[in-house]
Symmetry: C3
């Protein structure tokens, strides 16, 4: 999946970056709800990978990248352990959970849409799929904590999703490489 | 998917009708919980398409119809916008959310079971799959709002599910066209 | 799937055993929340089969065993009806729900990991998949009841998951039969 260290690997790097920020948002939510380490790691992984796994299932990539490629697990666990043992440090540096969500959403909107394009979906549905998978992680995190997902209330999400979709459409128009696979 | 305008398209029309009523039930629930427009649209889409997407994943139709065919998105968004901007009108005309759930459930039980039959599942498991996917939309809506799904409490659902299953079994016995695809 | 009554059927039997104990835990949770019979059966099925269905979708077994093979439905419904009509009996004999969860988790960790190994995943990700699918049932049950999943709070789960994973790794090293399929 990262066969050559060149431009085509950009979506993959963005995917791992999105995984990292979503994992932190999941872990922080877990720490706030006083989950133990195992629970924090479950939340990290769920927040970080539900979006990508859903995307891959919907476009027929089986097993999904996050299940087949250990980098996603490693990034999620690293973010979770980091957040669990240094929660105040993490919070001090990157304060708002909402910002993490928005960043992860934008990143996953990009990689989700580009991967969907690469698998033959039309631009509109690829954008939808990017957005759907982008909001999947935050939804999974909030649902696991028995809360109404932030995405249903925060306008910031719409902006982030639109930004992500705009990047994808622009990249597609400019004929930039389109998919992580 | 709607290649000729003849009897075989009936399940497809029923599927879109189920999508529409579930989208309204999702949007109404969102309006009541004071979600913004984006949140209402997410709830519309989730309530309307979680059932069908789950069904398609379970029988191996990838990408699922609701991801591949823009009509599902269009119907969901239209119902969501309609409900968001005219909520009192909608409520006045079609009052009980529960009725929408039951209607959507019955419709999806029909189309889900027939599509499962068409993909080779035996009648019993096809009925189960129809019912499972029929209750998926309402479950998704309620879970997203951090509530116990109505389906766990309301007897009406069992009746609707049985009605839907009965229609499917009857249709199958009468050799009526069996699947939307 | 149970073609000969020999050693290879062990994972299948363990899978049905895990289905049974998770179905009871789902049904008991439903009874405590005063769900009707239909709701209890939905919870039984969801708790018992969400893990296995998720596992099968993730490794590309479509339709998933729990959808294709009526034994899973029969076991789930039997456990649900049993628990619904004799809840105090059931509770008296097998008291702690947490124990059922742990047992189901360990069983599914075993069968999930072995099935994932059989489908070509590497040992680390197969263990993860076993654990993921093992905790899926309890998560589904708790989420359906709008509660934070026990798995995020109870250390017992980590122990059960590790035990299950250890069994799988040991079996794999000893070249015992590895998969239910």
């Amino acid at each position: 999946m990262l066969s050559t260290v060149s431009l085509p690997s950009l979506p993959y790097v963005l995917d791992l970056a999105g995984t990292f920020v979503f994992a932190i948002s999941g872990a922080m939510a877990g720490v706030r709800h006083r989950a133990d380490l195992f629970g924090v790691l479950v939340l990290s992984f769920a927040a970080a990978n539900t979006g990508g796994i859903t995307r891959d299932l919907l476009i027929g990539v089986v097993p999904p990248g996050a299940i087949n490629d250990w980098h996603y697990l490693a990034v999620s666990v690293a973010a979770g352990i980091m957040t669990f043992y240094f929660p105040s440090d993490i919070r001090r540096r990157w304060n708002p959970v909402l910002l993490f969500d928005a960043a992860g959403l934008a990143l996953f909107a990009v990689t989700g849409a580009s991967k969907a394009l690469a698998h033959g979906l039309n631009p509109v549905m690829a954008t939808l799929l990017g957005m759907l998978t982008g909001i999947g992680g935050g939804m999974a995190r909030d649902i696991l904590l028995a809360q109404v997902p932030t995405v249903l209330r925060a306008e910031l999400y719409a902006v982030a999703a639109l930004a992500g979709a705009a990047v994808v459409v622009t990249a597609d128009r400019l004929q930039l490489p389109a998919g992580p696979q």
